[in-house]
């Protein structure tokens, strides 16, 4: 008799597996943090050292994060395949919603970690002063959650395709445009109203809900 894992147990197991995979390659984690810093230096050179306004700086930070939200799950998937873990996951009796939420949470935590490191770097390099603005961190956090929610599904949809390295950004970028617009709008507000906070959460909740519902189809039928 096959024992079906409960939602919470499946979630906890999947999350611990995600972190084990991440920690198995610390070099990739360092590269994830270094890559946006290089982009920040390029932005600074491009704008000739001029101090930019707050929404532009945070917008550039988000744009840099979009690449990471596509690259990190791609690495994860590749490592899973190498270790044969993906087939085991598909064959196991784990709840796919629990698996999806665990993967999103794993990626989100990584992106948040990168964000905490990048905010002072970007503000110092591009804004000309060190800044930790609580409202911006909230909007950036929800934007990162949108990226994690959409990126996790897209990597499963792209599956075994040989062109997935090109396809992923092509699919990811249009999905991230509303996320960027909503976040940058939020950064431009001096005192956000409760409705603005709700709007900032809207893309993340939409992608998360859709991903939870349809992730199983992507995992079961698109993968080899």
């Amino acid at each position: 008799m096959i024992h079906r894992l409960s939602f919470y147990r499946g979630f906890a197991l999947a999350l611990s597996k995600e972190f084990r995979l991440l920690l198995a390659s610390p070099g990739r984690l360092v590269a994830s943090a270094v890559f946006p810093v290089i982009l920040a230096l390029i932005y600074q050179r491009s704008f000739s050292g001029a101090a930019l306004n707050r929404e532009t700086v945070y917008g550039l930070l988000l744009a840099s994060l979009i690449f990471l939200s596509a690259i990190i799950p791609l690495w994860q998937q590749q490592m899973e395949k190498e270790k044969g873990a993906l087939r085991a996951v598909i064959c196991s009796q784990i709840d796919f919603m629990a698996l999806y939420l665990a993967r999103v949470l794993g990626l989100w935590i990584v992106l948040l970690g990168v964000l905490v490191f990048l905010i002072p770097v970007y503000t110092l390099l591009l804004l000309g002063r060190l800044e930790f603005w609580a409202s911006a961190i909230f909007a950036l956090g929800f934007a990162a959650l949108s990226m994690a929610a959409a990126g996790t599904v897209l990597i499963s949809i792209a599956g075994e395709n040989k062109m997935k390295n090109i396809l992923l950004p092509l699919l990811q970028l249009p999905l991230m445009v509303p996320v960027m617009i909503v976040a940058v709008h939020f950064f431009s507000l001096p005192a956000p109203l409760p409705s603005d906070w709700l709007i900032a959460c809207m893309p993340a909740t939409t992608y998360l809900a859709a991903g939870s519902l349809f992730y199983g189809y992507a995992l079961l039928e698109v993968q080899d």
């Binding site: 959409a150 599904v153 897209l154 949809i157 792209a158 599956g159 395709n161 040989k162 062109m163 396809l167 092509l170 699919l171 970028l173 249009p174 999905l175 445009v177 509303p178 996320v179 617009i181 909503v182 709008h185 709007i199 809207m202 893309p203 939409t206 992608y207 859709a210 349809f214 189809y217 992507a218 039928e221 698109v222």
Partner: protein
């Protein structure tokens, strides 16, 4: 001689084409020219109805995609594919007609800071991604599943973008004038909207039949 159903559907298709021709003719000659915009304003009678349909079509594709995932009936995959095809064609037409209007009004074909222009470019990119990914998968069932999933996320992104661009101020694109139109402009506009919606339905039907025949031919059924 076809079946009565076929005759009705053929008549509907002809009616739709006739309505589009009539709506374009009306748009070119009937309403008074808006003095601030000149003759260029007549693009509005083509541009806005096409834009509306180009935005609805991904929603139809997403609903069909969900129905496909739930039922596994290839009919829904074909409807989803057809709606996306039409949306792609219409969105190209919207971008071109918008660029022509912008050249006259703004002196440039493309304003990179205009959020609505960019939102249509986003829709166009999503639709291109849909066809690229679909075209790279050989197995029919897997292709249909990928198509359904991309259609769902494309529709969500389109709706979210539609909401998000309304947050951006100032917007250079003309705002909605539905409540303030002169009677001749209003009549022409709504005839155009009706005509392009009928045309969309007729195209969905025609492309659906075409895809069905193609699949039957390929599988030798």
């Amino acid at each position: 001689m076809g079946s009565p159903r076929q005759i009705v559907l053929d008549f509907f298709s002809l009616l739709a084409v006739g309505c589009v021709v009539a709506a374009n003719f009306l748009g070119l000659y009937y309403p008074e020219v808006i003095t601030q915009q000149g003759v260029a304003h007549r693009i509005f009678y083509l541009h806005v109805p096409l834009a509306w349909v180009a935005l609805y079509a991904p929603l139809l594709a997403a609903v069909s995609g969900i129905l496909y995932l739930l039922s596994r009936r290839s009919v829904y995959d074909i409807v989803s594919l057809t709606a996306t095809r039409i949306s792609l064609i219409f969105s190209i037409t919207v971008v071109i007609s918008g660029a022509l209007w912008a050249r006259v009004e703004w002196g440039t074909y493309w304003n990179p800071l205009d959020s609505r222009l960019n939102s249509f470019l986003v829709l166009f990119l999503i639709l291109v991604g849909y066809f690229l990914l679909r075209g790279m998968i050989d197995a029919e069932e897997r292709r249909a599943t990928v198509g359904a999933l991309i259609a769902i996320f494309s529709a969500l992104a389109s709706v979210l973008t539609w909401f998000a661009i309304r947050l951006v101020e100032p917007d250079t694109h003309p705002q909605s004038v539905l409540g303030t139109m002169a009677p001749d402009i209003r009549l022409t506009f709504w005839i155009g909207v009706l005509a392009y919606h009928l045309f969309f339905l007729a195209l969905v039907y025609r492309l659906y039949i075409f895809e069905m025949i193609q699949r039957k031919y390929q599988t030798g059924v």
